[in-house]
Symmetry: C2
Subunit: 359 residues, 2 copies
Amino acid sequence: MRKITEIIKRIRPIDPRILKETQRRLDSLTKPKGSLGRLEELAKTVVAITGRENPILDRKVIFTTVGDHGVARQGVSAFPQEVTLQMVYNFLQGGAAINVLARGVGVKVLVIDMGVAHEIKCSSGLINKKVAFGTQDMTKGSAMSRKQAFQSIGGGIEIFEKEVATSGVDIAGTGDMGIANTTSSSAIVACITGCGVQDVTGRGTGIDDERLKRKIEVIEKALKINQPDPHDPLDILSKVGGFEIGGLVGCILAAAAHRVPIVIDGFISAASALIAYELCPPLKDYLIAAHRSQEKGHQIALNHLGKIPLLDLNMRLGEGTGVVLGMKLVELGVKILNEMATFEEARVSREEANPLQGN
Amino acid sequence: MRKITEIIKRIRPIDPRILKETQRRLDSLTKPKGSLGRLEELAKTVVAITGRENPILDRKVIFTTVGDHGVARQGVSAFPQEVTLQMVYNFLQGGAAINVLARGVGVKVLVIDMGVAHEIKCSSGLINKKVAFGTQDMTKGSAMSRKQAFQSIGGGIEIFEKEVATSGVDIAGTGDMGIANTTSSSAIVACITGCGVQDVTGRGTGIDDERLKRKIEVIEKALKINQPDPHDPLDILSKVGGFEIGGLVGCILAAAAHRVPIVIDGFISAASALIAYELCPPLKDYLIAAHRSQEKGHQIALNHLGKIPLLDLNMRLGEGTGVVLGMKLVELGVKILNEMATFEEARVSREEANPLQGN
């Protein structure tokens, strides 16, 4: 707990004056004012977050946390639970979507076992922060103990800080893998936003109507049995959360504390960001929403965070796949600020006053 | 004219069976079916366009055509006409937005003088296809002769084919520069779509209400005086078009004829694509809309082409800036198809039948 409190203490809101100053610099570049839209916004945000006039985003890192969920036994997913483990091997061998996209954009992917339900044999390249062999079934009680919730967040903080210390992180992103984790995320989003379960529960990996109905019932049951306190994000995490979600909460908090912009992925990442935000509202300034997922509750979670996603490509895979695309946009926005010529340098004439107005 | 007719003859619609076959291949990869949304769509489209099972998009080229407009004298832009020339020098020195973004994604930018109103001195790196020193003022008659319209399209075809022959083009994009060219593009879009001038005319580089009113009047006057035939795209191009627009029409036609996917940028590119489409409807299959520009008529032009843009980032700069971002998404979509592991290769279990249904 001390580690979490210390990290939170270090998180400060960004200075709006830096946003204004940076817009002035953007307006001196050879383009009509504001004509690069959200790319300009991204450049300003990164300058304000990092406190660097010309940030370089070479070291791009996605933290993909993995964990299993006891509630998977309730038949809420289209895939069997062993897929979590199988996908870890796929990540380590470089064959998953996140690996392909990350290679294409020059992003490093850290795969972190926060709580896979199996012993992992060939663990070369895997970071081990296993809290337990999967959570408990939340329809029968708490998914994890409060101590385990702290441990999962602490694990995320440790991984982030170790990466900062050893290799450096210029921009971070969140990713996840865990069969049944949209079920857990829907429960979290319902708790924090106060929306009805049916409004924040979607088809995850692609379940049919019947299973969707079942999934909603399962979540309602879990909330009824556990009665998580909507004003205590750690209570929510422990009662209906997941270890990989706790890990992401830690990464997000640590990123903000280290003044590193953090790009959030889809629904599971948004649920994690909601918990982090409830723990420390100023960290909102450090979040960049990569994309709007097709998962039903994602938009509701983004609204609660006050974030407009950069992309809307009908994606719903997780792993950090949306983050990779979003990170590239952030990088390009910053390059605009760093590399474009000013009107003076390029000897380009500025806008004229309207001659029709005679001034 | 013969060159244009020959190119058009070579353009064939894509084979929908290839889209289906490629979706089957995408469904064998380790992810829930369809979960990469529009990235999967892009992969399928590129396979169908190129006829290659595993296309490689290394040689990414943007054709940024430049031209001046006689109608600039009517005070329709916030910038003076000499900015067209000044921006050419900026492009050649690598200081413009398109240069910065293209470097960040590994895209080659070809800058083509289709009709800048000045002699260009330091022309190292510039491709010269100048038709004339700017178009005529379309409020006083035809912007160009029909022969010049052919010449501008022919120039675009030649540049594209030369680039294919010398360096190769795996994916192409359109870009533009020319003070007053949103005025010309609005006139084209109004003609082809049949929409009212006020519905397709926006603020371009950022004009105020008074100048916007003036701009609409100028376009209405040009259409009234010239009476372009809505069923004759070459008549529209010659009467209210621009040389850089003609150049892009040529590039688009040539790309489709060479089975190269062509990513279109904002409003000026869309106006060019509309002319190309009216000349040869099957080429629509080869177009990928990079983004939705803030320029008012862009959405109307995209609707006419039946295209949903990949990005919506409030951009309105032109030059090909939206294309760079879109091209990266296309490249990543294709990499998914080429590089991801299948369920079999990665030994990942597939979706289960719904156990609740007992099958």
